[in-house]
């Protein structure tokens, strides 16, 4: 089974909103060895002009994850999870994620390409805040290995 080329351009329904908790941000920050007080200490974050602790840049993947699960579960996608390798990842921010944010992510399949028997699926998840303003776009390229 190979990846369905008609996936390209498909827009998925928004996933359930994600409420960013202060302790989750701190837990994630410790797990990626972040030492900036702005990630860990609400007072330091406020002194720097933020409402609460700021998430490390890659925390956005936690919000993105539900959209990728949606893509992998799409019945006609033809993506065999056991053959998927994470190729590339990018986060492009309008502003950092801050504890207290209510974030909603929407996935679009930007491209489906074939390369030497493998398929490359590029998925862009656009994350907006409660006011609908753009926060971050998380882009993953998944390499789906072909039959050997």
């Amino acid at each position: 089974m190979s990846v369905n080329p008609e996936l390209q351009g498909r827009v998925f329904p928004p996933v359930a909103p994600y409420l960013v908790g202060r302790e989750k941000v701190r837990e994630f920050a410790r797990a990626v060895f972040a030492t900036s007080p702005i990630n860990l200490d609400p007072e330091a974050a406020r002194a720097a002009g933020y409402a609460d602790v700021v998430a490390p840049p890659t925390f956005a993947v936690v919000v993105q994850e539900a959209t990728l699960a949606q893509l992998l579960a799409e019945p006609d996608a033809g993506i065999d999870f056991s053959r998927v390798v994470h190729g590339d990842q990018r986060f492009s921010f309008s502003r950092p994620i801050v504890a207290g944010d209510l974030l909603t992510a929407t996935l679009t399949v930007a491209s489906v390409k074939s390369l030497g028997g493998h398929s490359m699926v590029t998925a862009e998840s656009r994350v907006v805040d409660a006011a609908g303003a753009h926060v971050v776009t998380a882009t993953s390229t998944l390499v789906v290995r072909g039959d050997e």
Binding site: E27, S36, A47, E65, S82, G87, Q89
Partner: protein
Amino acid sequence: MTSQATPVLADLTVGDVVATGTFPLTRDSLVRYAGASGDFNPIHYRDDVAVSVGLPGVLAHGMLTMGFAVQPVVDWAGDPGRIVDYQVRFTRPVLVDPVDGAEVTVVAKVGAIDPAAGIARIDLAVSANEVTVLGKAQARVSLV
């Protein structure tokens, strides 16, 4: 409160090393990241599962390596909110030995400067046992 001054774009030159870091990883680090991120793929904590899918052993989550590799840049910039764009390519996995763990080193250099946008592109060389594990690892840092 950060007492450290924000780097000044005009003082930077392409090729300058602005930050370095060394990250000792253990299996504990992987379990901690699994819990924090919600990525419970067992290849990141079970040798038997890793071997059954053809891997030499338990690997660090690529997203964990991506996550800590930018931290020296965050500390240099003085504020995680200054990272406006961050991308990597996962080129080689980081094998984490159950006893000896793994050590990942990061060297962050100025790759490009965009004075009009007030942004420095910082290129990261990330390696484990002297083998490069991330390709095209670039963080764009707003220094306005």
